[in-house]
Amino acid sequence: MRFMVITKATTESEASIPPATEVFDTMGAFIQELMDAGVLLAAEGLHPSSRGARIVIDGDRKTVVDGPFAETKELIGGFFLVETKSLEECVEWFKRYPLRPPAGEPSNIEIRPVIGPEDFSETMTDEQRQAVAERDKSSRFT
């Protein structure tokens, strides 16, 4: 099962305060462990929201809003894509996540299963499946 593990921004990450030197070691060791166990597919950290933008969609109207964005605790700080046997295994791995948020700033790590092809087939009606099959046929690249 594939999971996206989302780490949240902190006041420090939003202020572009770089992690302490030793953090590179602990984080490196953690990532190494995930790789050694064959569970890590991808991992990225994100720049502060001040360097990003949002496209706000309201009906047909799209407005571009530049960062930063206020709700720090809900902002994404980075993500991992991992493949584990179960949600529980993913949870166990990320209980070992070594970074601590700044004092007095409780944070969370959010774990979300990635939708796979098998997830569609269960909720789809036969008609919808047929439609997908037809669409796939017509989009053949020949």
Partner: protein, 432 residues
């Protein structure tokens, strides 16, 4: 809550069992005994963790508990009296804190690699190697292995018990083979991992969703292995091959479970992340191989030809034909020749492919191989020799053991009866 903690313990067990068994095998020099000790530690965890909570470092807890039992075990065994001192020195007095665990971990990678080589030892049958590898290194239960291979659980349990006995009787040493032996032994390990992958990848019968799980198990084992032998190009070649093949999983089965051939797959459904990982692993493997790629690196390079092509028509068939030619020199087999014939037919026309296929008709190993008439039928159809094509597809259908494939081949035979000259030039000969 009780079930929650059990699921947590189950997850921790999966994560820690391979390292645990590896470390214990180094102490007791017997995989079977090591696994029993590890199981004892699991039982202790199941007794204590629900009331005490999961320890901060569950891996270290399990290892310490198991090592205590290892010492008991060794004390009981008179013949191992000498070893008491050896183990006694290594035994920590209490549950180690993170610091000492890190120091202890130094040898874990080596132990894991030793365990890989023991589980895939040539003294064992292929079935035994596969079952033992999934059990000891993949952390799968006997029941899960049985379901994955569609055999009764008792069969798998027996295989594992017998395999452990065989290893003990043969006094298989707990070590990484050296020198000339390494290449052969590594090939045996890679073969087991790829076999597990293929069991998951090429099956379209049975419990559909258990099979992709088997592919994931093989991928995970392959990734672990590539980290354990980082200088071995073939280990990276194998992981590249599996990642690229697995990228097609979502596209190669239709809504009713029927196989969709490579030519007909919706490439938008290919998993870009796995392709990217596969191509990166291939690049790494090719650099390590230094112009002398082995069979897995070459097969990965062939798979990459498909992965790089946005459309079937964009496939670099000439490169693929050359890669098959090289593969035929490092790992000659009639099946490789058959695939080379397909690539040749795409690169230089059906006649070029048919010439090679006709040379294979006399090869005994291919006599009952359904893909030979299937490929030949395809080439004949593309040459507008429809009556012959139909006979070949019918023969292919009679040879395959896979119901889905049989249906596909019979449909092609029927299509040839209509003898439409404008048959689209697609590779319908083999599933993607």
């Amino acid at each position: 809550m009780a079930t929650d903690i059990h699921r947590t313990i189950d997850a921790v067990w999966r994560m820690e069992a391979p390292r645990l068994v590896a470390g214990l095998t180094r102490l007791v020099r017997d995989v079977g005994v090591a696994e029993e000790l590890a199981q004892d530690a699991l039982v202790a965890a199941l007794e204590q963790w629900p009331s005490d909570g999961v320890p901060n470092n569950p891996g270290a807890w399990l290892m310490t508990t198991a090592k205590r039992r290892a010492v008991d075990h060794i004390r009981r065994a008179e013949t191992y009296r000498r070893k008491i001192e050896e183990v006694g020195r290594e035994l920590p007095e209490s549950v180690p804190d993170i610091g000492t665990t890190v120091a202890e971990d130094d040898g874990i990678g080596d132990d894991l690699l030793r365990l890989v080589f023991v589980a895939c030892h040539p003294v064992l049958s292929t079935e035994a190697r596969t079952a033992l590898t999934l059990r000891l290194l993949g952390g799968l239960t006997t029941g899960e292995i049985a379901r994955a291979f569609l055999v009764p659980e008792s069969t798998v349990a027996q295989r594992i018990v017998r395999a452990k006995k065989t290893l003990a009787a043969a006094r298989v040493p707990f070590e990484v083979p050296r020198g000339d032996e390494l290449a052969d032994r590594l090939a045996s390990v890679l073969e087991v991992v790829y076999l597990i992958f293929n069991e998951g990848y090429s099956a379209t019968s049975g419990d559909d969703w258990m099979r992709p799980a088997l592919c994931e198990d093989a991928l995970r084992l392959g990734r672990v292995l590539a980290r354990l032998v980082p200088r071995e190009p073939e280990a990276h070649g194998l992981i590249a091959l599996m990642e690229i093949q697995a990228s097609r999983t979502g596209a190669r089965t239709g809504p009713d479970g029927e196989p969709i051939l490579l030519a007909d797959q919706n490439r938008a459904r290919w998993d870009r992340l796995l392709i990217r990982r596969g191509l990166a692993a291939l690049e790494h493997a090719e650099a390590l191989a230094g112009g002398r790629p082995g069979p897995y690196v070459l097969q990965a390079a062939i798979a990459a030809c498909h992965a790089r092509a946005g459309r079937f028509a964009d496939t670099d068939w000439q490169l693929m034909a050359r890669l098959y030619e090289r593969l035929a020199t490092v790992a000659p087999s009639p099946v490789v020749e058959l695939n080379r014939a397909v690539a040749l037919s795409r690169a230089y026309g059906p006649a070029a492919g048919l010439e090679l296929v006709d040379q294979l008709l006399a090869v005994p190993a291919l006599r009952d191989y359904h893909l030979l008439p299937s490929v030949r039928g395809d080439l004949l159809a593309r040459l507008d020799r429809h009556a012959e094509a139909r006979a070949e597809f019918t023969r292919a259908a009679s040879l395959t053991r896979n119901e889905r494939e049989r249906g596909l081949l019979l449909a092609r035979a029927e299509l040839s009866r209509e003898s439409r000259p404008a048959d689209p030039p697609r590779d319908r000969s083999r599933p993607g």
